[in-house]
């Protein structure tokens, strides 16, 4: 299978404190990988490394997708509060050299159920709406590699379902997805494989079904 991202003996320290070390793994296309681990295990840091937002202190990370095909959806919504939903999307579209007219952007807002609020200042949006706008930004990029850092935080049940449907659709499209979920047990059925960060190492990397049968509950 085509490999989109590979880490080789990756290690990261802040000063003298090691976050993780000797992590080697690969993210194939057309798959969902859950990144699991306790609080403070370094999942978010590992994901920032995958996104190229954080430098490794050891080892290498190699991207086999160009920067424009990398989507990152985290807690932070990247929303400019004084711009409208449409203007926010248009700005990101322009930065990525994409078509930024209303015709192409409105359908995206419809997909995340924000079409009614397209011209509202996004500063007035609830956390869930802002995160859906963030989701629309990621969908706009049609990423080949999609990195999700607890994207469902603060979403209501309906929005969370919408998010999952989009994640599944992205996999169908052939994207490789790495997903930090706050509900591993609930989301594992969607996943193909699981990476478990434990004791600063990659303690498990393999099929999701086998992992869940092992009885580990997160």
């Amino acid at each position: 299978m085509e490999c989109l991202l590979a880490l080789s003996h990756a290690g990261k320290c802040y000063g003298t404190r090691a976050i993780f070390k000797d992590v080697s793994c690969a993210v194939p296309a057309g798959s969902i990988t859950l990144l699991a681990g306790a609080n403070g295990a370094g999942k978010s840091t590992l994901m920032r490394v995958m996104a190229g937002l954080s430098r490794l202190t050891a080892g290498t990370v190699s991207h086999h997708v160009e920067a424009a095909a990398l989507g990152y959806l985290g807690h932070a919504t990247f929303v400019y509060p004084t711009l409208s939903a449409l203007e926010n999307l248009a700005f990101w579209a322009k930065l990525y050299g994409l078509n930024a007219n209303e015709h192409s952007l409105l359908p995206l807002l419809r997909r995340v159920e924000l079409e009614r609020f397209a011209r509202e200042r996004s500063g007035t949006f609830s956390r869930g709406m802002a995160q859906r706008l963030n989701l629309a930004r990621v969908l706009l990029l049609q990423p080949r590699l999609l990195l999700l850092d607890e994207p469902a935080t603060g979403l209501d049940v309906r929005s969370a379902a919408l998010l999952r449907a989009e994640i599944a659709a992205a996999k169908e499209r052939g994207a490789g997805i790495v997903w930090i979920s706050h509900d591993v047990a609930g989301d594992a059925p969607l996943a193909d494989s699981i990476f478990l960060l434990q004791d600063k190492k990659l303690a498990y990397a393999g099929s999701a079904a086998a992992f869940m049968q092992g009885g580990a509950v997160w």
Partner: protein, 225 residues
Amino acid sequence: MVAASWHIAAKDLRLCLVRGGGLVQALLLGLLLLFVFSLSQQVGETMSAQGAAAIFWLSSAFCQVLVFNMLYSLEEVNASRLGLLLMPAPVQAVWLGKGLAGLVLLLLAQLIFLPASVVFLGQHIGAAWPQALLMLFLVDVGMAALGSLLGALSQGQAARESLLSIVLFPLLVPLLLAGIRVGSAAFAAAMPEGAASWMGIAAAFDALFCGAGIVLFSFIYAGDD
């Protein structure tokens, strides 16, 4: 890269000028400085051209600190900085974009400060104004290049304004001296040493800190916390 910079600058100008009115604070501070310094003259007395030029540039420098703090704080609200770092263009595009936006805002502010210094500080524009205008632009370019580089250093920090001004002002000294000298010539003071050497210094500063911005910016504007 230039296209991305252009989009960033356009977005920033829109946020600062059309929405939120972020420039007002910087403008008011500059005007206030001009006015307060006008109190140093006795009634009927006019300030020396050099004094007036110094106050004009002081106002501009404070205005610049506020402008660049504002420009970089736009990305702090919802961590859009990470979004900019992910874009498929070199990160220097952010430096250039913010620098362009800052330059435009600074020029706009000076459009107000200049007549204000003429009015409050009792100056009149002399024959040397074309070279002073060129000088103004050269100095502003340098201020924008350095401001855009150092504006990023206070990311995620409280007390940004004071921090930025402490680091920025001493580094700006060559530019400010150049601006003050040529500016005072425009306010009809004699300048025996001629404007050319000052322009040389300002141009050298511009070149040096544009280079420094391009080389150093990627270190300072990063996703690492």
